[in-house]
């Protein structure tokens, strides 16, 4: 067949739209600034995407289970501030587990509300976004948090160190992605996450404890957020209260770009990793062609809309709704 019908073009566009748009984008940006495709730049993109990426791994579980997590940005601020504060008070060896425990408690609270009380996850986590922000400010008294002795602490290894020439944040991201990817794809728990998100009622009728599964997804999300907070704190050794502000949307954009459906039941860790990289390259490319940093907030929104649109379009096989 030499000619494609209009409908076939539409289907291909809808299904592969993100990848096509991404390819066009890469070519255009390389033409605009050849530095874009240099090894140095590629490396820097991956490194700067690691924090976002780690958070996106956890949110992938939540989204596949059919829920949302909009609290990850302010929860990451919380983790960062807490670990920096405790670093000077009780030392890094105790500060890190203490911060993880506190962050997991927040995750457990959200998991309880969404899983066991069956409250709407959008409302719960949107509220928690604000509540945790307040908690962080109360904790810090509104002050920036800085480590006193920035030179003499081994704490900086998580954000600034490298092994075999690879930065530690990238190593953490890759290791966590591999671990969680296998968990989601290969274990009974992973299967249950897909079942609960795909059809919660049918999962219940199959003897799956739905509340427990959703609860576990939020715990995993909180664990990833704590890890991201650790990398962030370790990289800068000092932080504002608002360091994670707005990240929730970028994380969501990466997860959706990776092809996870907001309706639940589909998605995968490796797809999310691709989504994270696409987002990272786009933001980097915009900076390289000389646009202001702040443009990326608008771009993130555009990407979310585009990704959601193409997801829906792929499902109905048309770009436009026949009914609307």
């Amino acid at each position: 067949m030499a000619t494609l019908t209009k409908q076939q073009i539409g289907t291909v566009l809808a299904k592969q739209g993100i990848l096509i748009a991404f390819a066009v984008f890469m070519v255009a940006f390389t033409l605009a600034n050849p530095k874009f495709i240099s090894i140095d730049n590629l490396f820097s993109v991956v490194r700067s995407s690691a924090i976002l990426g780690v958070m996106a791994l956890g949110v992938t579980f939540v989204v596949i289970s059919g829920n949302l997590d909009l609290s990850v940005g302010s929860m990451m601020s919380f983790s960062t501030i807490v670990v920096l504060d405790l670093h000077d008070k009780i030392g890094p060896a105790l500060a890190i587990p203490a911060m993880f425990a506190m962050t997991l408690c927040l995750g457990a609270f959200i998991g309880f509300l969404v899983g066991y009380l069956r409250l709407n996850s959008l409302i719960v986590t949107l509220g928690m976004l604000s509540a945790i922000h307040g908690l962080t400010l109360t904790y810090s008294g509104g002050q920036n948090m800085d480590i006193a002795d920035k030179e003499g602490t081994w704490f900086s290894v998580f954000g600034q160190g490298s092994a075999l020439g690879i930065p530690v944040p990238i190593l953490i991201f890759v290791a966590l992605a591999a671990f969680l990817g296998i968990m989601l794809a290969k274990t009974p728990f992973g299967r249950k996450v897909y079942a609960v998100g795909g059809n919660g009622t049918a999962a219940t009728f199959s003897g799956i404890r739905r509340a427990r599964t959703v609860f576990a997804c939020y715990i995993i999300s909180a664990f990833c957020v704590a890890t991201a907070g650790l990398i962030q704190a370790s990289r800068s050794l000092g932080s504002q209260n608002t360091v994670g502000q707005g990240l929730e949307l970028e994380v969501l954009a990466a997860v959706i770009l990776g092809g996870a459906s907001l309706l639940g039941g589909s998605g995968a860790i490796f797809k999310t990793v691709i989504g994270v990289l696409i987002l990272g390259f786009i933001q980097n490319g915009l900076l390289l062609i000389g646009l202001q940093f702040y443009v990326q907030f608008v771009v993130t929104w555009v990407i979310i809309i585009l990704a959601v649109w193409l997801d829906i379009a792929a499902k109905r096989g048309k770009l436009w709704s026949p009914i609307a």
């Binding site: 290969k186 274990t187 897909y194 009622t201 999962a203 009728f205 199959s206 003897g207 799956i208």
Partner: protein, 501 residues
Amino acid sequence: MTDPVLHLDDIVKTFPGVRALDGVSFSVMPGEVHALMGENGAGKSTLMKVLGGIYQPDGGSIHVGKERVTMAGPLEAKAKGIVFIHQELSLAEELSVAENIYLGELPRKSFGRVDWHRLAEQTNLILQKLNVGFDATTRVGDLSIANQQMVEIARALTVDAKAVIFDEPTASLTDAEKVVLFDVISDLQKEGVGIIYISHRMEEIFKITDRISILRDGQYQGTVNTAETHEEAVTQMMIGRKLDLSRNETHHELGDVALEVRGLSCGKLYEDISFEVRRGEVVGFYGLVGAGRTEIAETLFGLRDPSAGQILLDGEEVRITSPNDAIARGISLVPEDRKGQGLVLGMNCRDNMTLPQVQDLTSGPFVAEGAEVAIFDQYRDRLDIRTPGWKQLVGNLSGGNQQKIVIGKWLSMHPNVLIVDEPTRGIDVGSKSEIHKLLRELAAQGYAVMVISSEMPEVLHVADRIVAMYSGRIMRTFTSEEVTEDSLIQAISGLGGHEAA
């Protein structure tokens, strides 16, 4: 000889790799009820989508009256007087009956305000024709399913309908509600409207239709006059072989009592329910929708807490607190709503089938996928599930094959008690009789089986004993030898039934 209101001539529709419709012709005369029958996948839905303008045919022509037409879309079909009453209702529950009927074309006054007065008047005129017990201002959400269907029909009557297509209209109606629907159909008939009636239910087809057209594998098998044929002949045309419609006469050797229920109650849903199911026995639960049968099954499966009474498994009293608990105690439930409760449609066949036992099917920390495939293969062969492979998404299978996946899922748990709720709802005749045969075989193998069904031929066909329920109570229990259709109907209507254990 009058002209047909609707005539389809040699319609061909192909999809990549499939010839979904292969030269289908048929016509509907004014005032005729014309049944369209065929197994799932025979091409009925595709044909209706071609007629409704959702698909464009690759060959053949459609004529409305004498005019040859091309249906560009659903709106055009409606404008030409071809009206569809779908199986799944599409009504706005929070709006009134009148608003639903005239949605999108509400009568207007000045400044675009709605003319409520005229709206109510127009609506009540139509409702009078339908002879229903509600009026224009009733909120649709407050109506029964049957009455909601009446609203759909009323919507169809706002245009000058030439042909009305009913797609499985009785799937969720009670027997009394069906009578009302059939009255409406006969009124439409008198007005000279042609009716296309799609249904799997033979009794209805023979009761209300004039002619029957049959499709098999996308091919037109022929049209017969209803009065000159009988069920077996039609079935044979549909599936190409004979169907066994007799009542159950075989009995298997009965084992111990696997499940006993004593005085079980759950608020007002059902009260004082006592029965037992032995190994090797199929007990049928027959009654109208809302008689409390599904609720009993849900209680036994740990989805509801009983307010009184005892449940005994193998003679031992148990409290079943959750589905997980029920599964651990060897109870399996094939639920009533296949798509809503039975399957994760976006998951593949294998994963759906092994879902209840995925926690135990492990090697190390991982799911043992090899063992899963082995289970899937075993039940695919045993139940004759037709799918290209285990990777196929369940949502892409036909209704009958989907139901077999659900049954396979629960058989693979090797239950002591198997509860099946409406096992053949909405699936075709061929798969239906296979499932009936399977239920009998399971009993022969020593399973204790509870079958809940709203179809009399089904309970007659599979059950050793039949429990008749009415309004949350057991009216009478019959053995398959003593049961007659009349006594059964009386019992489930609350007439002349005697309390019997």
